[in-house]
């Protein structure tokens, strides 16, 4: 469980990035953190694995204050996949990249071998096992970064902009992967601008603006509220937009799923057609 209690944080250049954030994330939850550029999203999640420590307030991971644990200890429980894979990758082959942390954590060679094979397979990277990460495309490097973290099986996974550079099929795989992780009681926290991806996953959404959380709730509710979305610099997903533009119809407004939208519209149109 992650507990954030009235956290404030400022960078050395004086920018106040967090101004009193409080929230709780339970084990096995899937949370999308969304909001304007510079709203404090990445700063917030960097507090979850101890990369940053609060200037005021407290962050507790499973009841323990992050100021009382080292980043190395925390990162075994809370894996952080960066926005830009290049800030994470450095090995000569994809395989070495994944092995690196596992070796550091002191796993046996056999276990390391198994975990590498598992992670490569899961993220569709097996063919690149012996390739240099820097020969790969942006989207592929992103998956290598994710594989290298997944390999040590952290309890909580933080994904900073996981869908950037990923095509439709890879996004669908990422969605399935997240769902699979949830069945194993893993906590998934994604910082993202990708409204359509969030609409497809329907997680809990935290909206941030200027260092504060301004809304917290299930995606169907948050992503269909145009006023609150505008404050967070977010455009509603297309399906929500369509329903918002059809007022006078007394349609349900909390629709973000294309199949549900189709069912409702079919119903109305066929009734009228008769």
């Amino acid at each position: 469980m992650i507990e954030v209690k009235d956290v404030y944080f400022s960078y050395q250049n004086g920018v106040e990035a967090l101004k009193g954030v409080s929230l709780t994330i339970k084990d096995g939850e899937f949370v999308a953190i969304m909001g304007q550029n510079g709203a404090g999203k990445t700063t917030l999640v960097k507090h979850f694995n101890g990369l940053l420590k609060p200037a005021k307030g407290q962050v507790l991971i499973d009841g323990v204050d992050t100021t009382k644990r080292s980043i190395a200890e925390l990162s075994k429980d809370v894996g952080f996949v960066f926005q830009n894979p290049d800030s994470q990758l450095f090995s000569e082959t994809v395989e070495d990249e994944i092995a690196f942390a596992l070796k550091n954590f002191g796993y046996e060679t056999e276990v390391i071998e198994k975990r590498i094979t598992w992670a490569l397979n899961l993220l569709n990277l097996t063919q690149y096992r012996k390739t240099s990460p820097f020969m790969l495309s942006g989207g592929e490097r992103k998956r290598v970064a994710l594989a290298s973290i997944l390999a040590w099986d952290p309890k909580t996974l933080i994904l900073d902009e996981p869908t950037i550079g990923q095509d439709y099929e890879q996004k669908e795989k990422l969605r399935q992967f997240i769902m699979q992780m949830r069945t194993q009681q893993k906590t998934i926290i994604a910082v993202t601008h990708d409204v359509e991806f969030v609409a497809e996953c329907n997680p809990r959404v935290l909206l941030m603006r200027e260092g504060k959380v301004i809304a917290d709730g299930i995606a169907t509710r948050i992503l269909t509220d145009p006023e609150i979305l505008t404050q967070a610099s977010i455009v509603p997903p297309q399906i929500a937009q369509i329903f918002l533009e059809l007022p006078g119809l007394n349609l349900q407004k909390d629709i973000i799923d294309v199949y549900e939208a189709a069912r409702i519209l079919q119903n109305i149109l066929e009734k009228r057609g008769r």
Partner: protein
């Protein structure tokens, strides 16, 4: 008139065993807004690198077939010559920024072309304002967020006012509202100044409505090439694994269920809402 034309273009990176693009023949008309999409590794970024000569002059490797951009044979013209006509905004802005301040980065290309000082000032300010980063002009680019850096990279290209702008996922780090504003600015430049735009994107929900022409690639080859309305309703677009806009998807589901809403496939929520309102009014 075609401003970019390739004929049977193939290219292999040095040391690679497989062609990254093979037998690509496309034509992009002057003033068009073209979207190139397709699964990861399909060759989208590679073809963009051919448009301004990075391939073959910088990356080397093996290129066959022909490519003509702004009446110039790419193979026979150096990058700096092509750069006057083609501005390229990369996927990862960090690769593109290097100056000590945002405005110096934006001015760099113009300085290199020997543009008079006063004109540089005007063009730089114009580009900074369009990209919404005028207030950041004195900040060092490497201190900015990914989204802000993307705006700087876009401003640097806008300042040059090239005939062709090629953008490779230019707004991936931006929040949705900022991304929308940037695409609207690009669309206006395309409409008002006649700049040819080539956009590489996965997110068709955000971009399909701006386009006149869509090219879908897979495994280095062009699979579909033509009018967005026709391409995005084709079964092939689904098979290639392209994420068609949700509005288009909704239209297709309803059509499949026997509900035909007008003859033109919607590419945006506005278009789809219009079709639905019309259907509800007449039934």
């Amino acid at each position: 008139m075609a401003i970019i034309e390739t004929h049977n273009l193939s290219y292999t990176y040095p040391g690679a065993t497989k062609q990254s693009i093979s037998g690509v023949s496309i034509k992009i008309e002057q003033g068009e807004f073209t979207l190139i999409t397709g699964p990861s590794g399909c060759g989208k970024t590679t073809i963009c690198r051919c448009f301004n000569g990075l391939i073959p002059h910088f990356y080397q490797g093996e290129m066959t077939g022909s490519i003509i951009v702004a009446d110039k044979k790419v193979s026979e013209n150096p990058i700096h010559e092509l750069a006057k006509h083609v501005g390229l905004v990369f996927q990862n802005p960090e690769n593109q920024l290097f100056a000590l301040s945002v405005e110096k980065d934006v001015a760099f290309g113009l300085e290199n072309l020997g543009v008079p000082r006063k004109e540089i000032r005007e063009k730089v300010d114009w580009a900074l304002k369009l990209a919404g980063i005028y207030e950041l002009r004195e900040r060092p680019p490497h201190e900015l967020s990914g989204g802000q850096q993307q705006r700087v990279a876009i401003a640097s290209v806008l300042a040059m006012q090239p005939r062709i702008i090629v953008l490779d996922e230019p707004t991936s780090f931006l929040d949705p509202l900022s991304a929308k504003k940037i695409f609207e600015v690009i669309r206006e430049l395309n409409r008002n100044l006649g700049i040819t735009v080539v956009l590489v994107e996965h997110r068709l929900d955000l971009t399909a409505k701006y386009t006149d022409h869509i090219i879908i690639m897979e495994n280095g080859k062009v699979m579909l090439d033509g009018d967005p309305h026709q391409i995005l309703q084709s079964e092939e677009a689904r098979l290639v694994g392209v994420g068609i806009p949700k509005a288009t998807h909704l239209y297709r589901i309803l059509k499949h269920e026997g509900i035909q809403l007008g003859d033109t496939v919607p590419l945006s929520s506005e278009d789809m809402a219009k079709l639905l309102k019309e259907a509800l009014r007449t039934r």
